[in-house]
């Protein structure tokens, strides 16, 4: 299988602090790859490097064979790398539907002048997008919330809206930063099912940061373990469970 995403020796230094040192790995379509590691291991920094928010000090990021480090976040996103944020990245004043539609921005081919003058073409393009967004919400059992402001939703519903917004353009690569944090047990299971379905049925490549080890073991195809900015292990869940180095570093066993 060809690599959709490949990281070559990524290092990030913040004025002397080594956040990441020579991290390399790859991601393939249809695969859920979990990034685990203690707090401060550099997981979110790695996401920020891939999505263009933090430039790597050295190393390369290849997406679909193209070098993407140095591009701006919106350029990387437009190429099909989409992410969620740890502390929620929704637009609180907007409704659920408007949030999803904002996520579909790059897919809506309406031009400024057409929109300004309300031409039929621009109107139809916008209406078709709204219809697509409603279908997507229906698919995820969220239709009834379409016209509600997202800030009035529960934490779990908000996470779901963020995921729907992120996948609304059918991106080939999805970066999920702790999607299950703060969710109730049934919501967590549902979230993991959604993630597995996106990889299995839609063939999306998913990178997942998650602290809940049970979800990681059950839901991911491969696991990368980061510790103090270094990639200390990679393998199938069963292999990682047996890896002595991981147990020492991550779980604190002597």
């Amino acid at each position: 299988m060809t690599d959709l995403l490949r990281l070559n020796n990524i290092s990030v230094h913040f004025s002397g602090l080594k956040a990441l040192t020579d991290v390399s790995f790859s991601a393939s379509p249809g695969q859920v790859k979990a990034l685990i590691g203690p707090n401060g291991a550099g997981k979110t920094t790695l996401f920020n490097v891939i999505s263009g928010y933090v430039p790597p000090t050295s190393g390369e990021v290849y997406f679909n064979g193209e070098e993407i480090q140095g591009l701006t976040p919106h350029e990387i996103s437009a190429r099909g790398v989409r992410r969620t944020f740890q502390n929620g990245g929704l637009f609180g004043e907007m409704t659920v539907l408007e949030n999803i539609l904002t996520g579909m921005h790059v897919q809506i081919n309406s031009h400024f002048m057409g929109l300004l003058f309300g031409t039929r073409k621009a109107d139809e393009e916008e209406k078709a997008a709204a219809a697509r967004a409603m279908r997507l919400l229906a698919l995820m059992d969220m239709s009834e919330f379409a016209d509600q402001q997202v800030k009035s939703l529960s934490g779990g519903q908000q996470r779901m809206v963020e995921i729907i917004r992120t996948i609304s353009t059918e991106p080939p690569l999805l970066l999920l930063d702790e999607p299950a944090v703060g969710l109730s047990p049934p919501m967590r299971i549902r979230m993991m099912e959604v993630i597995k379905r996106l990889a299995g049925e839609e063939g999306i490549s998913i990178l997942l940061i998650e602290h809940a080890i049970d979800l990681v073991m059950a839901g991911s195809d491969r696991i990368v373990v980061l510790c103090a900015g270094q990639n200390i292990a990679e393998g199938k869940p069963a292999e990682i469970r047996e890896n002595r180095e991981v147990l020492e570093a991550y779980l604190g066993y002597a």
Partner: protein, 326 residues
């Protein structure tokens, strides 16, 4: 919870057509208004556009940029200079005011793009307005300084626009076109991108939206619309003075945005209109007018922090601002 959201949406859609009644009914104002009232209605439309333009930057984009009087003055002076000195007709001067206002918006956007935000942005953009006022006063060979620059023979497409009634119909057409255009843009990916930047700039970029492009676009639109308002202001007063564009003026603009409803297009229309009429009404109480005016602003903002638009939105979902088309 309504069990059938799509049915509910259809009924809003039908009700929203009623908005067209407002401009149609307004066409009959000249039949009933006296000279003074007609003048006030004309000024009202000027301030509706001032507020619509300002609210895009303050309410929708969420940037504390107070360059609005600069845009307003630049629009008015562009019109007056082109007509008085260069002999252009009002129609061309008005379009030029929109273009030059847009360029002023572009200039103002540089500050926000360079990461100058919040209070720093507020003070820098206010300074821009004051600096422009200094230019109007001291470039007196062109602007006639504090004597004011007069406009003569105001006409559009060869028709005289000297009477307030003629101005009214031209202004009504411009106001309806601008408000409809802004409404069209807000109810699209453009409007959503602008609000997304306000709510969470970092996430907006992660959705493939170029935040800097939309910041520039919003400032240019704002400058352009307020520039048009400046051209209308110049035509209404027929003489342009530097002191019309001072710091108190930008405070009035800001009050119009907040009283109408920050980020709400309907709010801009209401806020601009109400805060034009109220001070005029209170003029009959000399010495007390500022007290009433200030008191009303405070009362509205205390009880309706989201402005008069939120009161309407409580009455019916038809008045909700929407950022999509259905």
């Amino acid at each position: 919870m309504n069990t059938n959201p799509s049915m509910e949406r259809k009924s809003w859609k039908a009700s929203r057509r009623l908005f067209y009644v407002v401009p149609l009914a307004a066409m009959f104002i000249p039949l009933v208004a006296n000279d003074y009232l007609q003048f006030m209605v004309n000024i009202m439309m000027v301030y509706v556009l001032v507020t619509v333009g300002f609210n895009l930057v303050i309410g929708n984009l969420g940037q504390l940029a107070f360059a609005n009087t600069a845009f307003f003055g630049i629009g008015a002076y562009t019109t007056a200079i082109l007509m008085s000195h260069l002999g252009f007709t009002y129609d061309i001067a008005l379009v030029s005011a929109a273009v030059v206002g847009g360029l002023a918006g572009l200039l103002a956007s540089i500050t926000a793009l360079r990461g100058i935000r919040l209070y720093y942005l507020a003070i820098i953009t206010m300074a821009f307005g004051e600096l422009m006022r200094w230019v109007y006063i001291h470039a007196d060979k062109i602007t006639h300084g504090t004597d004011g620059l007069p406009l003569y023979n105001i006409s559009v497409f060869g028709m005289s626009m000297h009477s307030d009634t003629a101005k009214f119909y031209v202004f009504l057409l411009i106001t309806v076109l601008v408000v409809k255009g802004v409404s069209n843009l807000l109810r699209s990916r453009v409007g959503r991108a602008i609000i997304a930047i306000r709510d969470n700039e970092m996430t907006t970029a992660s959705l493939g939206i170029s935040t800097s492009n939309y910041i520039i676009l919003t400032f240019v639109m704002s400058g352009s619309i307020v520039g048009i308002a400046g051209a209308m202001f110049a035509a209404t007063t027929e003489r342009v003075f530097p002191e019309s564009f001072g710091l108190t003026e930008v405070i009035v603009h800001f009050a119009m945005v907040m009283v109408g409803g920050s980020g709400s297009l309907i709010g801009s229309v209401i806020g601009g209109a109400v805060l034009t009429i109220l001070p005029e009404y209170f003029r009959q109480f000399p010495g007390m007018s500022e007290l009433f005016f200030g008191g009303i602003i405070i009362t509205i903002l205390l009880f309706l922090p989201k402005g008069l638009a939120s009161l309407l939105a409580k009455l019916s979902p038809v008045f909700h601002d929407r950022y999509y088309r259905d």
